[in-house]
Subunit: 425 residues, 2 copies
């Protein structure tokens, strides 16, 4: 079963050996429930709170923003994940970031955990929190606790509820983002599902968005954290919408063990299979976030190949994908390769500009633009045709080695300005 998603084709989802893509998101794995509620925290006419709940306590792993300014929920989650507490619920609101809110704001995290624990009949140590929205405003805690009660009543394990949760966490996103996959571990079916929101404030320096991944795998906390930490640098950290790293970026991965598989330990074959499947979910969600950047009309994929090291490849790919000048060129369907070479040049990576080859590719075809640092005699009309597709790939080959990296972003359009001149985030 293939999930047919919005706006962007899913042609790029790799079906790994021993892996299937199935319908659903955070409720696809056994024992996970979800719900959405309209708590009126910021929005009047839409849901703005989500619950992810596990019938059994979960091992929890997380990665968080590297911004010096961390929102209160980020500090809260870091404490919970580090403590080793088993986690059973995630409470998310998409109206208020609860960042730059001081001791009062952190107190609302405690209140949230207490209210969720009471409503769900679980331990307060087992509640993690995600938030996104306006910075600097305090949480209207009565509305939030009222919302928690609604979430606790409405929660169930249907795929529909998972989708509703994925919708409730959106801010300026234009569609919900979710995916689920299954793999076999010791004869048992293990499921990994997730949801994410992005759009504003998307930048490589850590995920810069919210992503919640659930799995029924039985896996050690060490293996879970390593699988997540080892993957974010290739997925969420390689996307950029506007170069701003948010105060609230959070990726949480919860494993409740209900699949009944032999426990996955770090370094084993089963671990590798689990990590690969997790990567498919993360990459899919990351690409969906990139392609749904504020005002975006195209997903812009950049591959740096022939590099001496992965670090060099990441620097080059990210520098290209973050350049406003490159992104406006993509919006204009313009094969402006000079801007791409320029962005490579100030990336911080060392390379020989006179060795670079550059290609553009999309469903409309593939074309070489530069060979050894200067333009080949390509057709501008053909290049424009290729660049007019909703998914465009630029591949830069620096011919120094065999390392590579891929980054994802979007074009920069009038829509971005419209959204951000008025939206108070």
């Amino acid at each position: 079963m293939k999930k047919i998603s919005q706006h962007l084709s899913d042609s790029s989802i790799k079906e790994e050996k021993n892996m299937d893509i199935i319908k659903g998101g955070v409720t696809a794995a056994k024992g996970f429930e979800a719900a959405a509620a309209a708590a009126g925290i910021k929005y009047k006419d839409r849901t703005d709170m989500a619950l992810v709940y596990s019938q059994a306590p979960c091992e929890a792993a997380g990665t968080f923003t590297q911004n010096v300014v961390k929102a209160a929920p980020v500090k809260w989650d870091q404490k919970v994940v580090k403590s080793g507490s088993k986690v059973q619920a995630v409470i998310v609101n998409s109206g208020i970031a609860n960042a730059c809110t001081g001791a009062e704001g952190y107190g609302y995290c405690e209140d949230t955990a207490v209210a969720a624990a009471e409503a769900l009949g679980i331990s307060g140590d087992g509640v993690v929190i995600g938030s996104t929205g306006v910075i600097g405003k305090q949480i209207p805690i009565e509305k939030l606790t009222a919302g928690i009660k609604v979430l606790a009543e409405k929660k169930n394990d249907s795929l529909e509820n998972g989708t509703q949760a994925a919708r409730a966490i959106m801010t300026t996103d234009t569609f919900e983002k979710e995916l689920a996959v299954t793999l076999k571990v010791g004869g048992k079916t293990v499921t990994i599902g997730g949801m994410a929101k992005g759009s504003g404030m998307i930048h490589p320096n850590m995920c810069t968005m919210l992503a919640f991944i659930t799995t029924d795998a039985d896996i050690t906390k060490e293996a879970l954290q390593k699988a997540l930490s080892g993957d974010v640098d290739d997925t969420y950290n390689m996307i950029s919408v506007d170069g701003d790293t948010s105060t609230n970026d959070t990726v949480l991965l919860l494993a409740n063990g209900l699949a009944g598989n032999p426990q996955i330990r770090y370094g084993s074959e089963d671990y590798k299979a689990f990590a690969e499947a997790l990567h498919v979910v993360n990459e899919y969600l990351a690409k969906k976030i990139a392609g749904d950047g504020e005002g975006a009309t195209a997903l812009f994929e950049v591959k740096a190949v022939g590099c001496e090291s992965t670090e060099q490849a990441r620097l080059l790919a990210k520098s290209i994908v973050c350049s406003n000048l490159t992104k406006t060129a993509i919006a204009g369907h313009d094969a402006n390769w000079g801007r791409i070479l320029c962005a490579m040049g100030y990336s911080g990576a060392q390379f020989d500009p006179e060795k670079v080859d550059l290609f553009f590719e999309s469903r409309a075809g593939k074309i070489q633009i530069i060979e050894n640092g200067t333009a080949v005699d390509y057709s501008e009309a053909e290049a424009t045709k290729i660049l007019s597709e909703p998914e465009v790939t630029a591949t830069a080959d620096v011919k120094l080695g065999s390392s590579s990296a891929t980054a994802w972003g979007c074009d920069l359009t009038h829509g971005y300005i419209e959204i951000n001149a008025d939206y108070r985030s």
Copy 2:
């Protein structure tokens, strides 16, 4: 005499002791001539070439882009400045960058120098070159050499010709940028004048624009280079329009010694006076470039104060001024202080977010927005009034020390997208 310039008030020009602001630009200093020509290199109906010529050979200092990809004229100028050759002419074209053009492109620099030397009756070693425009296209050398002949015929030392040269080097700039000052050195009047162009591809990592400064001071090559190198980090390197560092950034400073002052040596009192006057010219031109960013409607000045070091202050100020989210907020006259704290947080500088104070200021008044990391009870209406002026200053105090830095940028508007989706740079 105060020069009354376009769009932005000149209230910020400091009149140093022993210094006057006078009319003019590159032709203000003794013995300097200029001209503009319509060579048809890219534009059809405007001038696109400029000459700056000195009647006497000049000591030359320069600072250049840090981009790994350097345009051919940048490589040429670096060679000339390093060689110690005396310089007598600058040839600029604003149609074609001559970047990513390989050996053929570098050859056109040699051709340019030969043609200029012949037309002006000077040595080919004494010709430096500036260029800006389309990357990757080769120079139409016949048009360029024809343009050089016109420039050589038209050149004179009038202020009007200086202004015409300042106009000819513009690309997407909306007005020419020039300033001149005088100071007394050993009883003699020394003049420093300059012109610059910016607009697209403006970023802190080196000047990211073209600036040509002329002076009739008698000054050693060492002192000249140190005065320039010591100042660019506080001026051209502190401006940002879009975060992209160009392949062509060049600041050239020429001194022909015709003022007849006692020679200025590095470290002397006269050197300090000269460096201060040069700073006034550089800061003025840098601010004009920032305020004339593509599509900009406001100059956005950011001061980081109370810092532990100048480096920390620069990181903080530049991170705020480069943030797309901050810049769109300024375009929307929105006191979005959360975005400013967020940009400080990912700047790479360490500080305590819960100590930060933030103020907005303009001709319409001054208002405190944050005290110790959280919002004070300020009036949104008053903040919007302050942010609706054409020059807006944000001051962030991290209360750690006594160092400070100032950065300049502009708001991010629809105009930026319009210009860059179509302009092939």
